[in-house]
Symmetry: C2
Subunit: 147 residues, 2 copies
Amino acid sequence: MLTMDEFIKTCREKGLNVTYQRMVIYKSLMQSKNHPTAEEIYHMVRKEYPSISLATVYKTLETFAELKLINKVTHLHDMARYDADTRPHHHMICIYCKAVYDVHDERLNRLPLPDVDYDGFQITGYSIQFEGVCPACSQKFQRKASS
Amino acid sequence: MLTMDEFIKTCREKGLNVTYQRMVIYKSLMQSKNHPTAEEIYHMVRKEYPSISLATVYKTLETFAELKLINKVTHLHDMARYDADTRPHHHMICIYCKAVYDVHDERLNRLPLPDVDYDGFQITGYSIQFEGVCPACSQKFQRKASS
DNA sequence: ATTCTTGCAAACGGTTTGCACATAC
DNA sequence: GTATGTGCAAACCGTTTGCAAGAAT
């Protein structure tokens, strides 16, 4: 959540050309509260810059996310994944290979809910996504880092 | 995670015909530890039942998930969503309209990690997904329930 | 016999890609 | 001037759909 000046400075620092498109896209995302999709951002941005292309929006968002300027909320969005284990449990996702492991830990099933009624939102349950590095990728990564 | 007998019984109870395809798909998912995709299940199932079609696998998994026989791990998998707020925070997802709200609550940022080194998996962070009903859908739902 | 399910192929929709042109530096 | 980014259209790929044939009840 940067000011426009900070955004421009950060782009320069990260070796990213500062274009009008990038500024408008960042501003739109910053002003939006709903975690919009690329298509939604495209429609917002077109009001201010009608000639922008959808492909540019996709490329720009992906670039921002790689440089951690923004976050992709949906880590595992590429393909649906299923689980036959319907007990309440949590998941651990390898940031490299996207493997999903189960976390069964009773303590995590008794979190205090943030508020029974948060902004009028009625919470019925939750699940925790842990991020990290799986054993296999940990090996690869160490090998890569030490070579 | 049902035995095959329980699975058959549950299908009958839920008004689902018991077919060989459904049994093989459920068994494959049950034996798999990696939260497989539809395509992965398709390949596993084909070893035991080569003539099965990918469309059947998709339809079957969706049917199972609707009846809560299995879980879809990826709730928001349909489209990528982005967020300009890079501070650590959590999300609340409306199960009806899939709207995503932010949850900023300091207490939730200090969870005890399940184990520093869980099965060789190095955890670097986490985020919590709360599920529930947003104010707008709550209204719609109440109206529907009381009419 | 009726209803539900399957398999196929075609359609769909979100996302990516290749490439020529334009822009930032 | 060179490297980088943009826009367009086509390709891609995971998923869904319509429908005729087949299986479960």
